[in-house]
Each structure stands twice: as C-alpha cells, then as structure tokens.
Symmetry: C2
Subunit: 137 residues, 2 copies
DNA sequence: GTTAATTACTACTTTAAGGTAGTATTAAAT
DNA sequence: ATTTAATACTACCTTAAAGTAGTAATTAAC
C-alpha cells in the first residue's frame, strides 16, 4: 500500500533538483551521491523523465540535467503517471474492482473519501511544495 | 498503491466463507473454483490464515475450512496484519519516511487525513460488512 | 583533432512476490 | 484394514521490479 521504489526515487530526484538554487544543472554522479540512489538506476529513471518531458538533459562534457518547467508547474501526479503509479478513479481499495454501483461492499463508499483526498493531493502538490524544507527527501 | 495480491485473495476467500449460509465448512477445491484462485496458492494462503487463528481447518476426508470467529468479529485489518499489508501510523505516503515533525513536506499533513480514514476503514470493517451483496468479491 | 566528462542504449543479474508440483499426514467412509 | 478425500509441508518454478555492467554517442575543454 505505497508508491513503487522507482516513483519514490523519481520524486526525490526531482524535488532535489527543484531545491537547488545555485546551479540549475546537476549531473547524475552528484545526484546519486546526494540522494544515495544507485547511479545506474538513477540514470535509467532520469532517461524516462527526459522522455516524459519533465527534465531536459544536456549530453557531453559539462552536461547534466535540469527541470524542463518551473518547480511549481510539475505536480507529483505528473511524476506518478510516468511510472504508472497513479491512483485511478475506478480503482478499488481491495484491488478487486469486479463490483459496480449495484452491488457494492461496505468498503466501496468508505474508500471514496480517502481516494479523492489522495488524488487531490497528487494533483495539486508541486515539486515546490515538497522541496526545500531541509528534509532528507 | 494497492493491497498485495495475497491480501486480496485472503479477503475474498474469507468474505466468501462468511457469506456461505448453508454449510459453514468448505473445502479448498470448491473455494478455488468459486473464486478462481489457483488451488495450490489458495491452500498456501489458507494455511497461514489457520496459523493466524482466523480459520479452523479440519483434515481428512469430509474435512475443510471454516471461520474461527463470527464474521462480524473478523476485521479486514486483522487479515492485512497476517500478510504485513497493514497501514502503519508512521507510514509516509512517499514511502520515504526519513523526515520528522521538524522538517515536513507539504504532503506530510495532507497525508494524515486519508491515512486515518484508511486505518479506520480497515479497523472497523468486518467480513460481514463486505460479504453477501452478490458482488463478485 | 584528441581527450575527458557526460548522457543514452542494450543486455544482463538479483530479489521478492506469485504460483506450482509432489508427497506426507490425517480421518471419515466403506 | 483399506480406500478415499481432504489439509500440511517442502521444494521448486515463474514473473516483474529493482539494480548492475559495459559500451556507444555526444560535446566542451584543451
Ligand atoms: S464493492 Fe468493494 S470490492 Fe467491489 S469494487 Fe467496490 S470496494 Fe472493491
Ligand atoms: S515530510 Fe513528506 S517525505 Fe517526509 S515523511 Fe512526511 S510525507 Fe514523507
């Protein structure tokens, strides 16, 4: 009942980049060291973020990565989408989802409220909101 | 962001058993057919439920499984506990959880509310609440 | 132009969850 | 007593996520 490792890494990576005030360009080696994420795995994830248009990569010497948009314009939900980790509207808590409105279990309606809150949270929280509090994020 | 397959199966199995009015004893073969859960996997899960004191097994010919308590006394949360799929108090949405009250991200407080609702739901929903609506559960 | 530092690509290995096979054990039916 | 139908146990196989290795491509610095 939590986000995939990959999504967690992606969020931390982007949050860290959003937080870096000085140089907006950062390379994989430094990011990997700063966040304690395996270098090779990090570059693999980053390549996906580049393809998803959340990050710009600059290849070659003096290259690196930088956010493609303002931190306030990149939502946590956008990141989750890239790794198919979003919360779908029809998603059942139990993961069963065979049921419909006609024959619903007691959890069905109870699940609506927390689901809505989660969707809202992911939809409306930007990188800016989660970065830069000195957290280990 | 959902329960493990094993937990889902376990919930469906127990809910089905709670729903069976006629004979309280049911065997693995019938359960497996009714719920379309692989027989061998089902028995593996059931053995864990027996060890966890949620189910009583009767071995030998004419044997089978039956709930150890009233359906209204077995909570969804009890089942999740068996498979380490519970929602912990300290659990972070992002699964990071390095942070503390001093330096929390924007999600930290937003996560409280849905988390509480989920915990309450799992704690207070019994098998009786989710069984017997004609659902495919 | 050569070198050095960087990202991108391809392919592999490891780990844990999910699932399967075979056999031992149990106990009612006969 | 033997047979049969059931659960329990042990060990293995499969799959997808997580992680690793090596090399190609790119580009600034020299
Ligand atoms: S009725 Fe219950 S099991 Fe069916 S989709 Fe709704 S929450 Fe899931
Ligand atoms: S501050 Fe954010 S990242 Fe840290 S534990 Fe709370 S929700 Fe998780």
């Amino acid at each position: 009942m939590q986000l995939s490792n990959t999504s967690q890494y992606a969020i931390r990576m982007l949050a860290y980049m959003a937080d870096k005030k000085d140089s907006s360009l950062i390379n994989a080696t430094k990011l990997s060291e700063a966040l304690q994420i395996p270098y090779k795995f990090l570059t693999k994830i980053m390549t996906e973020l580049v393809k998803a248009d959340l990050v710009v990569s600059i290849r070659g010497r003096e290259g690196g990565y930088t956010l493609k948009k303002n931190a306030s314009d990149i939502m946590v939900g956008d990141i989750l989408k890239v790794f198919n980790d979003s919360m779908q509207d029809e998603q059942c808590v139990l993961g069963i989802g065979f049921c419909n409105g006609m024959c619903k279990c007691a959890l069905h309606d109870q699940w609506m409220k927390p689901k809505r809150l989660l969707q809202k949270m992911f939809r409306e929280s930007s990188l800016e909101d989660i970065a830069g509090r000195g957290c280990k994020i």
